[in-house]
């Protein structure tokens, strides 16, 4: 197929043409309450054409392949329209053409019988339901997919990549009287189905926590010292800094660029943050991004100072920097934009006990239940939280959301743990309409001063 597509991008009345074709087979199982809700099998095949004429870009996405040549012409026509309205550029960083085939590193989940997948999930479901009378039900979401992406462009790049993606979330719902609480366990990866097996103890713990939350006090509103577990710390870095580092907005905004100047201090000397696609087994793993650029490690913060950003070929050219392999499209329906891959905060030397010690009243927060970044503000919601009182973990608190400002919250990190783990979860990152994109996060425990906690008390 690549040869046929490669021929289609050559000799066109355009300065650049690329075609992407994608085939994905996906299986989903979901449980709600006390029952299996649905098993779904999706086959999704589609493609797109992106073209540049002068300074203008056009994009066409489709599910039918009978008229690809017409789609190429349409993309070129769109690009010409844009060129008429756009005086600037073109912005397109040079990269060497690549010819490569990357087979899936993980085990193909389509080879696992459906009955086996269901058996593992049935057991998790029963573990939660069997915990006790206060368990009202359990929501389980599981998905696996195998994707084959073929990418060719008029510069001579021809890449085929295969991806395996697996994700699981098991939520326990507890209720007593009018009070209801839930918390969830989540995991995922790109190594195959087995990444979601063997978590019986964590699932049981999740059920116990949900029941415990029925007695929890509301979150203490106000500013507090907060210790985050590796999963929540990873989400924090993703929301508090990762999105800010996606260079497509900075590339077009002189005001934002002035604020994000290289060398600016964002955190303490022992703070190092990077983003990489070369993390085998992680959901955010990839060898190349969706523009054929190697998805190598890119440092964002070193020694507390801003040293890099996450680029596409266009943002890199606009800013006079090099592409970093962060151009990703959710699927064939979209053009690539700057996205994260596996975003990591490097470990330090502190032990968890040291972090708790010296906290008279604070919060220990773990797990992740969503987050959002807008402008300079971000929020992140833990799956579970406990009060820290006089250096010890104390009672759980409920309905907590944490917030901060991207420009000063990193500076408030005063301790970085020595434990480090790559954490994956079900779902993914959203940016515009492109959701859920598989990304991974990695971090040790961290402690942050003066985090604003939203809560009723």
């Amino acid at each position: 197929m690549e040869a046929h597509l490669a021929a289609l991008v050559q000799g066109k009345p355009a300065d650049y043409v690329e075609i992407r074709v994608e085939q994905t087979g996906r299986t989903r199982l979901s449980y709600q309450g006390r029952k299996l809700h649905a098993i779904t099998e999706n086959e999704d095949v589609g493609g797109n054409v992106r073209a540049r004429v002068g300074t203008g870009w056009g994009f066409v996405a489709f599910n039918r392949f009978d008229e690809i040549e017409a789609r190429v012409e349409e993309a070129i026509a769109h690009a010409s329209i844009m060129a008429r309205h756009y005086p600037d550029g073109p912005y397109w960083a040079p990269v060497s053409p690549v010819v490569d085939q990357v087979l899936a590193m993980g085990d193909d989940p389509r080879q696992i019988p459906l009955a086996r997948k269901k058996a593992v999930l049935d057991e998790y479901h029963q573990i939660v339901l069997g915990h006790g009378p206060e368990i009202r039900g359990s929501t389980i979401r599981y998905q696996d997919s195998f994707t084959r992406r073929t990418y060719v462009n008029s510069e001579g790049t021809r890449i085929v990549q295969e991806f395996v993606d697996v994700g699981l979330a098991v939520a326990a719902h507890a209720a007593r009287g009018g009070m209801s609480q839930s918390t969830a366990f989540t995991c995922g990866g790109s190594s195959g189905f087995d990444v979601i097996a063997g978590w019986e103890r964590d699932v049981a713990e999740t059920a116990a926590r949900a029941c415990g939350l029925l007695d929890a006090a509301p979150a203490p509103g106000g500013e507090h010292t907060v210790v985050l577990d590796p999963m929540l710390a990873g989400v924090f870095v993703h929301e508090a800094f990762g999105h800010l580092s996606e260079a497509d907005e900075q590339a077009e905004s002189p005001d934002l660029r002035a604020v994000m100047r290289l060398g600016r201090r964002f955190g303490p000397d022992n703070l190092h943050i990077y983003d990489s696609g070369h993390v085998p087994g992680a959901r955010g793993y990839m060898k190349y991004d969706d523009e054929g650029v190697l998805a190598e490690k890119a440092y964002l913060i070193r020694d507390g100072l801003l040293v890099g950003r996450l680029h596409s070929r266009e943002s890199a050219a606009r800013m006079g920097e090099k592409p970093t392999g962060n151009a990703r499209a959710q699927d064939y329906r979209f053009r690539p934009i700057c996205r994260m891959r596996c975003t990591a905060l490097e470990p330090g030397e502190a032990a968890l006990d040291d972090m708790l010690r010296g906290v008279r009243l604070g919060v220990y927060a773990s797990g992740a239940n969503g987050g959002e970044t807008r402008g300079e503000m971000f929020t992140f919601t833990p799956g579970y939280a406990r009060v820290i009182r006089d250096g010890e973990l104390a009672e759980p608190v409920r309905d907590l959301t944490l917030t901060g400002n991207v420009f000063n919250t990193l500076a408030a990190i005063d301790m970085i743990g020595s434990d480090f783990a790559v954490k994956d979860s079900y779902g993914g990152c959203g940016k515009g309409d492109q959701w859920p994109l598989p990304t991974s996060e990695a971090s040790p425990h961290i402690r942050i001063q003066n985090v604003v906690v939203g809560g009723g008390k």
């Binding site: 099998e41 039918r64 009978d66 039900g137 053009r335 971000f378 929020t379 939203g454 809560g455």
Partner: protein, 445 residues
Amino acid sequence: MVDRVLTAAAAAGASAEVFHYRGRTNPVAFSDNRLKSVETGSREVFALRVVRDGKVGFATATGSAGETDLVERALATAACSERSGLELADPAEPVVVSPVCDRVAGMEPEELVSVGQTCINLIRERHNDAQVRADVVAGLHEYEVANTKGCYHSYRATSFEVKLLAAVVQEGNFLEFEASDQRVDREIDLERLTARINLELDRGRTNAAFTPGRYPVVLTPGTLHEVATRYVACLEGRAVSTGFSPWADRVGDSVLSPAVTLHDDPEQEGRPGAVPVDDEGVVCRRRTLIDRGVLSGLLLDLTSARTLELEPTGNGFRPAPLYTMPPGPRPLNLVMDAGSGDAVDLIAQSGTCVLVAMLIGAWAGNPYSGEVNGNIGLGYLVRDGEIVGRLKDAMLSLNAFSALGEQLQWVSGDRQWSVGDAFGQDWNALLPWVCVSDAAVSARS
């Protein structure tokens, strides 16, 4: 293909339902005040649901896939499933006609570019330091729903959406506000839409010092939409049938203030919720969900209706635009009855309060507890009825059931449409401004 799939499924001893979507959208995107991309997207999906030996299976395929494979995959998932009593929809006559606007269907890219450029100019004329992102999308959509009980519906719909985000970036002060509108025709009032943004960029530039604590809070239609997602979660058939919803046994009870009446209404002139049937072939109609505070209606799909032994309500939809998930309940258009008085006057008479124009992250967390915790992305301190300035680094915490329950102080007579955009919340809402007597506003000291 639809007929062939149904025939093949029936031949295998299953009853079956096919949902077929084919659509084309033409988005143009602007960022940093300039045209960024001109696009076309076309999508075709076949979504099959089968029932064999009482077990339900689902499979989907795009575009040019074959029917044999689709049927086999669906039957394989059914074989692994558990028994459910699902009955597919009976044939029925629709009451709502889907409005199709040929003017929208025929919109060329240049015309969409002109709409986006007009919006950017209307904002920049007033705020020449604003960076505006605009997405203008015209779409034409075709739907078919058919099943082995003889149910067959097909209809077309058009969509036109303008989504605007304006930001003013200054060191230490990011000001940003978003406004969008969605219709089936071309009648989006660009002056009114951009005026909403210009108002917030006017008044958001001055920060106010304030003390964290408990305040009366005024929610705009946009922020009330976020709170209303909690009510929708509690009305939703699956949450009711599993018992997660705190409203599960409360039909006929008072659950919110008598000043609150909520409808699910497909027939709102020019609005996208006007469809004749849901994705399961059940006829859609206007229904009252909360009647003067009393719970009177739920949002049901075939599965939850069956479990609850109630009639399905025509709310079973597959999440757009992928259509690869099984149907689940969602509203068509959520409409709250107007109160009285203009919001501007009511705020001026409200003494000291916090006016919340935008929330960040409020969607996260457990919706059935009613807790809404979000960063106040844009909000103002009001003192003696006048806006003093913008609140920075502040969080709002309230409980949705109390807020429009015993804490509800007033409901404005004027209302505004807000577009749903929180991860699969594909429903629009017509909501007023409301004042909640008491909510926690925490902040950096």
